[in-house]
Symmetry: C2
Subunit: 126 residues, 2 copies
């Protein structure tokens, strides 16, 4: 696999874990370090793996159903770092659908690409 | 200067250009390439330097005054790529103050760090 394909696969595992609301699978996607950060739509940035993990735990518990349709995905690799930008078209049923513009940053160590940043921002309905 | 200091300086030039609403200074901050993207708060992601530049032009024309107080700035460098996460505490006067969680990605070429991604998301008032 090319680096771009490896990053795209890691990015897909992130959304698979999110849809499954599986905290173990989500933990396997992330670099569990102090530099890991997550910015959920409307939230302040949370820094460090402990806070990142806590946020996923809270979100998974509060989310009975979620499905992602990913569009306009672009992968960029530069050495041991990569970023992916894409649109998350989110289906949650009963008029709760939304679009999030996401930026995911991955870092590579020994061929293993791990997420270090997930930043999602709400796109205003036009 | 260390790479971290060079990235921090490039990040500061971005906010200086934004406060000055100076399109030439903003253009000097960016990598003017197809992979350049900007996500303004509430906006969809715009891809490629032409669209990025157009958005700054529109924002500068529509912004009579803006001042940034930057907090919780963290710089991470990995080879020729770096990312900066920070809070933009934005003063625009007359009750229009707001906070934006920002993620800025920079790429280095021959010691020159250029912005390739600016992603800002609104932080809901608590």
């Amino acid at each position: 696999m090319s680096p771009e394909q490896s990053v795209a696969a890691a990015n897909q595992r992130f959304y698979d874990a999110f849809e499954a609301r599986d905290l173990d699978a989500m933990a396997a996607v992330w670099e569990r370090s102090d530099r890991a950060t997550v910015t959920h739509p409307g939230w302040p940035t949370l820094r460090g793996w402990a806070k990142v993990a806590g946020s996923w735990d809270a979100i998974f518990k509060g989310t009975p159903y979620i499905q992602f349709i990913l569009t306009d995905t672009h992968v960029n690799v530069a050495g041991d770092l990569a970023w992916v930008s894409l649109n998350e078209n989110i289906l949650q049923g009963e008029g709760a659908d939304s679009t999030v513009a996401a930026l995911n940053v991955f870092a590579q160590r020994e061929g293993d690409w791990r997420m270090v940043v997930h930043h999602g921002s709400p796109v205003a309905a036009s």
